[in-house]
């Protein structure tokens, strides 16, 4: 599916081509039919109406929730319960009927959009109803558990109706429940039974709940939300580890290294074909293929890789500061460190960490071509290439340097130097890739990284100005030398026949 901005541009250009006589009116019509240029304006209007109706649903839902919270006594308990249950079933049913009846039409009509808004309102009414019963029976549990149960209910409806909007709402609810629960956990508040288990295993729970939904809805937004949920909750567990323990216990070292390498490694190796294969394998006994097998499946790898690069950049940037290598000055006794690890043990001994680690290895093996064409690995799927090797080398370098620094001998000078080198490599590599592929985002991320690196180094070192000046001079010469070498390299590439078929046939 081409983007809307491309279609708008195409409409403008095609009209000009027709004016200039480059294409005939019939050809213009063919283009217009192929890219549905006539529907561009109505599509924008329809989407605006859909957003307004959904927003109205959200506001009405908040109104209902606030009404419950007011605990107004003029309405007897029984009437309140019946009213809210009737509202819950009525709104959901009306929403579903409208949504369904408007579905067959091309692009959906007003009924589908209004139905969609009502379904969102229905999802919020579910929360209001849950809250009402909690209030009537004076339940002591915090709002965290309530949000998670509510989110589970909404995720069910999102699967049933394949609605991205409900999936996102469910993701936000589960996320809200998770962070409220963490706050209660930190402040030692009342927890519902099983809540601590849920908080601990949130990386797995979020993955199992939302990754299939992202594929089912073919929604990149849902995939992004899933990735954030899985890895932020995983880091929440790692975050409890005190860096001061690393000199004394190997476990803490391994866990801290995993903090910096596991998320980017996992996301970089993320393979849609592997996950779709697993999904198909699990679905096969049910004999169910879904209702849109003719459409191409979702492709989340680019998004996963964007996340991986972003995570990697932030990690490497933190370690490019000299102070981050001097922090571990306090060395507690081994007993103190073990005691500390024992305190965070419930967090790090969760099942999620080993499962994610195994999946990480499986994904890299799959990327390296293992597993053959199991589950119909798409033939054109990307195989292990130079880029994968580079990322793997960077991750390996991070792991090795951190391991030596934290468990053998501190490497303040070498560590700072290597991570600055890695940061430069990342920034320059991103700019190069971005220019090569014409992807603006990569180019700008690379440029921001390089600028940040230079600015940070200028501001970080205030003494040894002669040395600082020398370093910058050497770096400047080095960068120019690389640029010139690259220029020559490209020219040799261009001169070397045969680069591409078209180049070969070029008469000049």
């Amino acid at each position: 599916m081409v983007s809307e901005s491309f279609r708008r541009q195409l409409r403008q250009e095609a009209a000009r081509w027709q004016q200039d006589g480059l294409i005939s009116p019939e050809q213009y019509q063919q283009l217009a039919n192929r890219y549905r240029l006539d529907r561009l304006d109505t599509a924008a209007r329809d989407r605006f109406i859909a957003i307004l109706l959904a927003l109205g649903g959200v506001l009405l839902g908040i109104g209902v929730i606030t009404f419950v919270a007011a605990n107004w006594q003029s309405i007897p308990r029984g009437v309140k319960v019946i009213l809210l249950l009737a509202l819950f079933f009525g709104i959901n049913w009306a929403g579903f009927s409208l949504w369904r009846s408007g579905q067959g039409t091309d692009g959906g009509d007003w009924r589908q959009r209004l139905g969609h808004g009502l379904l969102i309102l229905g999802a919020l009414t579910l929360g209001a109803t849950l809250a009402l019963f909690g209030q009537l029976f004076h339940q002591s549990g915090s709002a965290a558990g309530l949000c998670i149960i509510w989110g589970l209910g909404v995720v069910g409806m999102a699967y049933g109706l394949r609605l991205t909007s409900l999936g996102l709402l469910a993701g936000l609810l589960v996320g809200m429940g998770y962070w409220l629960g963490i706050r209660d956990f930190v402040f030692n508040e009342v927890q519902a039974t099983g809540m601590d288990l849920l908080l601990r295993e949130m990386p797995l729970v979020a993955g199992v709940l939302f990754l299939p939904l992202a594929y089912w809805c073919r929604s990149t937004l849902l995939f992004g939300l899933t990735a954030i949920a899985v890895f932020s909750s995983l880091l929440m567990g790692f975050g409890q580890i005190n860096p001061d323990w690393v000199n004394t216990t190997a476990t803490a070292t391994v866990l801290l290294i995993l903090t910096f390498t596991l998320p980017p490694a996992f996301l970089w190796a993320y393979g849609d074909d592997l996950w779709l294969g697993i999904g198909g394998f699990l679905r096969r006994p049910l004999g169910w293929v879904g209702d849109r097998p003719q459409e191409p499946p979702a492709n989340f790898r680019p998004t996963a890789r964007d996340f991986a690069i972003l995570y990697l950049s932030i990690g490497v940037y933190i370690f490019s500061f000299h102070w981050s290598w001097l922090e571990t000055t306090v060395s507690p006794t081994p007993e103190d460190a073990s005691l500390g690890l024992a305190l965070v043990a419930p967090w790090i001994s969760s099942v999620s960490l080993p499962v994610l680690t195994v999946l990480l290895i499986v994904q890299w093996l799959w990327l390296a071509g293992w597993g053959g064409d199991w589950a119909g690995r798409s033939r054109d799927s990307q195989r292990f290439n130079q880029m994968d090797a580079t990322i793997l080398a960077i991750l390996g370098a991070i792991a090795i340097i951190l391991a030596i620094h934290w468990s053998l001998t501190p490497l303040p000078a070498l560590g700072t130097f290597v991570f600055n080198g890695l940061l430069f490599l990342l920034g320059a590599g991103l700019m190069r890739e971005g220019l090569g592929d014409g992807t603006r985002r990569q180019f700008w991320l690379g440029l921001i990284l390089l600028t940040l690196q230079i600015l940070s180094r200028v501001l970080e070192y205030e003494t040894g100005l002669l040395l600082k000046s020398l370093t910058f001079l050497l770096c400047g010469v080095g960068v120019m030398a690389i640029g010139l070498w690259f220029e020559r390299h490209v020219r040799t590439l261009a001169a070397a026949p045969p680069l591409t078929a078209t180049r070969e046939e070029d008469p000049s």
């Binding site: 929730i65 605990n71 079933f89 849950l130 004076h138 309530l146 409806m157 049933g160």
Partner: protein
């Protein structure tokens, strides 16, 4: 949001009804148990301290703290030694792990049967504690189930939701009752079922009952 395809089949109704049924189960799960406790539970009165925090979903509530929420008060009762063998008398919960169940056996106050209808009841007295659900209770006794968490014992009776428009009045009265010399001016009536599960029913402040 919803992808559009003209050649799209109408969605099967079960794909709506199944999740809706699941949501209905989630809604009814909580009241089902609470209704059971409320219907068959024994009314019990507990000695209770208040603030009025706000929960964005369920509104304002009174935080209830009971005499039996404080481990020190229970450590003097028979049976505590078996739950948490005390090495240090000043720290009776040292041996307790989080989520340890604690059953508190309660007995009605003397003369409770002769209390005039509608007057404020006196609180029940804890007589012993146990780690397992006691089966040898006398006819008047009842066991209340709690769990140990972070230096307190929680019974699921820690919140009483109140209407927004009456919260000032209720708070003022509770404060007055707590400043008075009579600690029994502020008690909570709860219901406890045979499994020890409990539900707050009403709060009594200086002779007046509030039920929401």
């Amino acid at each position: 949001m919803t992808p559009s395809r003209s050649a799209r089949r109408a969605i099967a109704p079960w794909r709506f009804w199944l999740p809706l049924g699941f949501q209905a189960v989630l809604i009814l799960l909580l009241p089902a148990q609470a209704l059971y406790t409320q219907a068959v539970g024994t009314p019990v009165v507990l000695q209770t301290a208040p603030v009025d925090p706000y929960d964005f979903l369920r509104g304002y509530y009174v935080t209830l703290n009971y005499d039996i929420s404080i481990p020190r008060n229970l450590a003097e009762l028979p049976g505590w030694e078996a739950i948490a063998p005390a090495e240090d008398p000043d720290n009776p919960t040292a041996a307790l792990a989080a989520d340890t169940p604690i059953y508190v056996v309660l007995e009605p106050p003397a003369g409770d049967a002769n209390r005039p209808e509608g007057s404020q009841p006196a609180p029940w007295m804890p007589v012993r504690v146990s780690g397992d659900r006691p089966t040898d209770l006398t006819a008047s006794q009842i066991a209340l189930r709690g769990t140990y968490q972070n230096g307190r014992i929680l019974y699921g009776l820690e919140r009483y939701y109140i209407p927004e428009d009456q919260r000032q009045e209720i708070n003022d009265r509770i404060q007055a009752a707590q400043q008075s010399d009579n600690p029994e001016a502020y008690v909570v009536e709860v219901k406890i079922d045979s499994m020890g599960r409990s539900l707050p029913i009403r709060i009594w402040v200086e002779g007046e009952a509030y039920r929401f």
